[in-house]
Amino acid sequence: MIRGLVAVVLLFTVAACANSGAPSSATPSFATPSFTTPSSATPSSVAAPSASGALTRGVLLPASPPTRLTIPALDVSVPVTDLGLAPDGTMEVPGDARTVGWFTGAPTPGSLGPAILAGHVDYGGSAGTFARLTDLDQGDPIRVTRTDGLVATFAVTKVARFPKARFPTGEVYGPIDHAGLRLITCGGAFDRDAGHYVDNVVVFATLQSGE
């Protein structure tokens, strides 16, 4: 609570998100020493050309969980934790305003299929890391650092807002023929009676490169 209020003050004075202490560099310096592997950073299937009439499109990386998310256009560079399903079947959400969560029930960022990252638009009195997600434009880069040391660079293809009551499950979580990324946060009006936002904002992105 105190941290949240302090962050609000910071927000108005520094005009930055709760991660104002982190450098907004495009090359994340964050590393997870306990996860580094010397050999697996050069997987054979990296950027495999679509041999023998492959049915998939574009660059594909092997599976590796994310550790950090960097969005240069929003000055975002934050650690990523795991999210599962809550007992009621909804997706878990991060426990603070800053951290972004990777939904472990979907592919890892950079491998074939839709990788899902969720973050708060606001939480506990603080603006969340995803507070300005709707400011993203088509083509803006999104970078995800992975435990294998590779950085997957995505480009925004679409920014959309959907009523939670009619959430497009298939479009967000369904099968795709490329390595995709979806950033999810809240948006639209806030229903104070129900205590939640009426809409979800979803940013769709496609993998451009992994290195």
Partner: protein, 265 residues
Amino acid sequence: MKFRVFVALVTGAVLVGLAAPGTAMAAESVHVSLTEFNNSGARGTAVLTALDNGDLRVSIRSSRLVPDAPHAQHLHGSVEGMDFHCPVAAADTDGDGYISTEEGVPDYGDIFVSLTTAGDISRASGLAVDRMPVADQSGTLTYDRTIPAAELPAGTVAHLKDLHVVQHGIDANGNGKYDLSALGESTIAAAAGLAGIPQEATHPALCGMVAGASAGSVPVGGVATGDGSTRTDPGRLVTTLPAAMLILLLATLLITRRRKFVLPR
């Protein structure tokens, strides 16, 4: 959260026999397009779902297969990083017009998992036709099985996209069944010590190519990524002003009591 990662890694280590970093399991579904092979005329789809407990759910729907006949089916390939693919015509090294199971192996790899209907799933069950699914009278084959993590070869789930579903069994002479008079005896079955099995029964009919992937478990509805705590909607503020003021007052009291901290406003 670290605990969760730890648990996942330990579970992976115990059940699958690997705990290599960067191979933590994502529960995902790999969508496979089964394409015709050896002019079988068949078609199908397969969905391989890595469940979050490490089990593998395999669902296969094929049609236009040889009716009322068992179809041996396997996951071919390896988890050693080999780049396998479905064979092309050049794989027919003996030039008889058909790509046999053996001729396909350099392209799609050896049998990695035998997709039996029950019991053992190892390579040894590759020709266990009594435990292979049978196409119905119209040639439609339906297969659903969840294979426990403990029975899967190490690395299966992490390398799902590198493996190829292959279904065997064609009707080369169009008489509606497997028979020796069409293409003779199965060379691979004979090599395994099984005499009298028609080559038609073991020739590949369909080969799977990865066409896409999706979430393995789909969350219900939208995502609760916001609590409205920074919202100051003018329109709504009017109706909620008393409540907002009360919250602010309580928060201020709480903070001043606990930390002697006063809000700067």
